[in-house]
């Protein structure tokens, strides 16, 4: 395990890269608890469309956020290759439904480029920067922004 102090400043950070539709995104690996396959979720009443419901994660009730729906790309049709990335943001544990996990990136803070100035809501709300990796563009997702609005956060 790397020394947290030094990694924050200069050196490399690791990201989990994944696909949503045709686009590539990544999140900081430190926020990822585990990656697991898709299991059907129990729908929640009165929930936003991007909340697919809840699943049982070893006894805890885990809400599933459909990232494609959240980003406004469209509803994900879960397949055998669909993946749930379990992330922890503050005290909340949430599963993110994505199409596939592609790889783990090791990159430095310095190589992050600002989000290109486009009109898309997706870019403005959920992306805090982009990486250029071997000709691909990978957007860095801010985890806080994708969370479902809970009564706790609203209070």
């Amino acid at each position: 395990m790397q020394d947290v102090g030094s990694s924050a400043n200069s050196a490399n950070r690791e990201f989990v890269a994944f696909r949503v539709g045709a686009q590539e995104f990544c999140i900081d690996i430190m926020g990822v608890r585990e990656i697991r396959g898709w299991t059907p979720a129990t729908p929640l009443p009165h929930a936003p469309a991007y909340v697919r419901g809840v699943i049982n994660l070893r006894g805890a009730v885990l809400p599933i956020v459909d990232l494609a729906m959240r980003f406004g790309i469209g509803l994900t049709e879960p397949t055998a290759r669909s993946v749930i990335i379990v992330v922890q943001v503050y005290q909340q544990v949430v599963g993110l439904l994505v199409d596939a996990v592609s790889d783990i990136l090791t990159t430095s803070e310095a190589s992050m480029q600002p989000t290109p100035d486009v009109a898309s809501d997706l870019a403005k709300t959920f992306v805090k920067g982009v990486y250029a990796v071997e000709g691909r563009m990978i957007s860095i997702v801010t985890l806080e922004s994708v969370l479902p609005i809970s009564a706790k956060a609203a209070a």
Partner: protein, 722 residues
Amino acid sequence: MTVDTMAAIRQTFFQECEEQLSEMELGLLAMDEGNADSETVNAVFRAVHSIKGGAGAFKLTALVQFAHTFETALDYVRSGKLHPSADVMKAMLRAADVLADLVAASRDGKEIDESSYAGVAADVKALTTVEGEEEVEEVIEFQPTVIDFGLPDVAPEPAAAPVHEYRVGFTPRPELYLNGNETVLIVRELSRLGNAEVSCDVSAVPDLDTIDPNGAYLSWNIKLSSEAPIEAVREVFEFVDGEAEISVEADGQPEVSDAAIAALLAQALGNAPPAEAEPAATETNSEEHVQPAPAPVEVIASETSAAPQVAEASKAVAVQTQTTIRVEFDRVDRLINLVGELVINQAMLSQRVIEANFAGSSSVIIGLEELEQLTREIQESVMAIRAQPVKPLFQRMSRIVREVADATGKQVRLKTDGEATEVDKTVVERLAEPLTHMIRNAVDHGIESPEERIAAGKSPEGNVRLSAAHRSGRIVIEISDDGAGINRPKVRASAIKKGLISPDAQLSDSDIDNLLFLPGFSTASTISNISGRGVGMDVVKRSILALGGRISISSRPGLGSTFSMSLPLTLAVLDGMAVSVAGQTLVVPLTAIVETLKPKKGEIHAIGADSRVMAIRNTFVPLIDVGTQMGFRDTPADPERSVAILVETGGGARNALLVDSIQDQRQVVIKSLEANYGTVEGIAAATILGDGRVALILDVDALVTGSFEEQLGGDVHYGTGG
């Protein structure tokens, strides 16, 4: 010593204070009932003494002062100088309340104005000067250098009880001093038991140039005449056991009793075999110890003197020392969660085995059944860890009764029953407020004034009875008073005046009684300090319902009222009915369900655009289509191919929930939705089914009212009276 460890010790002190206070209260209440035996009085005295001792270490002067006054009074009772009459006990109980307040204030770092309890302090002080003698002022903070055993003044006069002569030898080892014990305190404590003649043996003190400043050279011989049993004498040395050579011999008792006492001592120190087995064992012991020679008279004497003591002591031991450990609640909760997992996993495994067509293999099936049984037993045992007796809760109520009775000038006695009944810790905690409210009501509204009671031919002292019992997997708590009962005409008139019912409404007696639970109902003709601020029984009912409980009321004019609550034993599991709605499994809490019905043609009527009602025995109840309400489907279900579940909400309103079919009744483990998501309208919590999927538990009240604000939470606020 660092601040942290100091804080930790302080915390431990206050934790222990809580235990001491409850011990004290229990003893005082027993004394109040007339059980002022020496064991009880001693227990109360010890509790107050320990609080005083600990408080002294933390320089909590006010607490020490008051505890000292209180302790002195208790000492008078202990030594027989003061008879624990009703008046004395009244003062004592009030002193106990003040002591509890002082402890709480010290813990929270608050100051309590001395004048607020000066009256009680003076009352208690007055008790010790009843016979005109001067109270012997003790030095509260002991100086280590003082070697003064001249305490004959404190020593009580030998009373009528048989006086034993004890020869006590006490030779401290250096460890005793190293551990901060003080011989003067022990000798002083000993002299409290009776008349002590103390002589110090200095023969072992070496010359000055060879003396080890950390050594222990002194020993004491004490001749004690006391009515206390020998174990009480031994108990004085409990704290220095192993740090000194201690011998206690009772004159006139042959050494056989020593063996019995040694056994007793071992028992008292905690490594005890079952108490019941003890008397028989000691008796055999004493027989074995009797050498062939002694005269038969002596054998009989030893047996008769030892056996009752043993019996008495073992009784006390059985009551007092149940070995316990302190465990953080987090750990228990983690264990409970894990066991919940185990239960789910076991259910999943069973399902998989059936799916895999292993069913033919009987050994697999038998193994599974055994696993299921074991899992259930583990679950029950783990739940039992969280279970706590309602005793502390009930004890707090006796104080409420005292306070309200004083404030209203009534005479009330609280009787409690079934204090050992256990229920989940959370239930106990969340019961405190509603119970307090109901006890206040019982004294304030239920019990009449002494004059009224005499006029009605009753004793001027009213009775409030608080009882708890387990009944068919639930705990039933009843509060009954022998007061005037519910004044039904007045309740009715009040309800009409407040527009809660129409003037020509036909109401049965129980209907009128239940009006008390309506929001904003208050019958007290004068708004008192104690209750009747408009927040009343409706709040109580709400919090009971929020706990998954039910409350009912029964009253007989002139004879009193009874409020009866039935609550689940735990909040971790729930009895529910699993139903299917639009392909989803939902759980309806069993407590809300009145009955289930199959709607027939013509029983469903439409009202307005999209509202429907169902006719049930000539009354129409709103029909709620769970599927559309939850957003699981857009078109309403066909009632004739569905099942209606008649439910009753907190407000007593009846509604019919329309679901596709009923699966079964089962006990489900409650899982929080809030932790990772948030509250969902109409959903109380979630659970995990045997197939590993999540199922939602309906919040019937919220579903029926359909509005978020109405949803019951734990944070229901009460008016605080008094």
